[in-house]
Symmetry: C2
Subunit: 193 residues, 2 copies
């Protein structure tokens, strides 16, 4: 029982540390210290910091994927309402927001996609899964006539994800929620209509 | 004459290196080596790597600002045509594209905005200047009746910048031009209409 628990502790703590400080600015020593495990034990669980980063990203996305699926596939609500609820949940002002960390998917895309084939492939899988969840909901909304039929569901979904990641990136500079509210207002008045 | 030339060499080479590898993954030693100057000489020109990064960002933006101003303020062309030309110049497929580097403005936003006040302030100034260039052109296009009057010029400009940066980020993962072409198609069919 001990090994899985150390591994899990490293992943849970590492996620917080890598999200807050970024990948290259964080050493394996920092991760081990934050998780209160010896540095040597890190390498019994993960072959490299890169492999660790890929698993952390998987864990980060897992929770978000399940949250997105719950909202976007909820057959008790009209699909267009699900799209609105999904994005407003991600863009509305939060009293506890610090705006420093951004989204790990965007951060890793910027910092690691060009250097690490492993993480790039993991990011591509995340984007593909995210796009499918959104595209299916867009298709449903087109089928029931509540969304314009001229949108390509996959291209629109991918555009929304990219534009959302760009808005999150901007909140790191602005230190306020303006970019996310702008995203929500423009997307729902001009695109998802 | 020697000092300015070493400084300039450090900035020009440093821009290439920081853009290709990222800020934290590059050491002062790497920058000095690439510029073929002794490491000690780096510190006679720049108080810190952070200050160097801020100057490199300034240099990166300077050329792009002048290019944007040339196209977006060109009074010999209709404003809506200038907007199309500006973005298509940034999104059309290029035979020499490698898709590895992304945009330094987006990369620094992801990697440095939360840690460095100096670079965050510089990024905010870049975004503000970029937004003004675009917003002025949007206003002109609204004034001559070629663009819908219901868009807020500043919000729209900022949204376009964020969405563009998100699309560039995505090209680093996809290793192809699809996100940029999607940006161009959706923006010019649904927003700038």
């Amino acid at each position: 029982m001990r090994r899985p628990s150390t591994r899990d502790q490293l992943l849970a703590t590492g996620l917080q540390v890598l999200h807050a400080r970024g990948f290259h600015a964080t050493g394996v020593q920092d991760i081990a210290e934050a998780a209160q495990v010896p540095k040597a034990s890190f390498y019994t669980h993960f072959p490299s910091k890169e492999a660790f980063g890929a698993d952390v990203l998987g864990r980060y996305w897992e929770r978000r994927a399940s949250h997105a699926a719950t909202i976007l596939s909820d057959q008790t609500r009209p699909p267009v309402e699900r799209l609105g609820a999904y994005f407003s949940g991600k863009t509305m002002p939060r009293p506890d927001a610090t705006f420093g960390r951004g989204c790990m998917i965007g951060n890793f895309s910027a910092e690691l996609a060009s250097d690490s084939r492993l993480i790039r492939d993991r990011l591509a899988a995340v984007f593909a899964a995210w796009e499918t969840l959104l595209a299916n909901c867009i298709k449903e909304a087109q089928a029931d006539g509540s969304l314009r039929p001229d949108l390509d569901p996959h291209d629109t979904a991918a555009f929304l994800i990219d534009a959302f990641e760009g808005a999150v990136l901007r909140t790191k500079v602005d230190r306020n929620n303006a970019a996310l509210e702008r995203f929500q207002a423009i997307v729902f008045s001009l695109i998802l209509t």
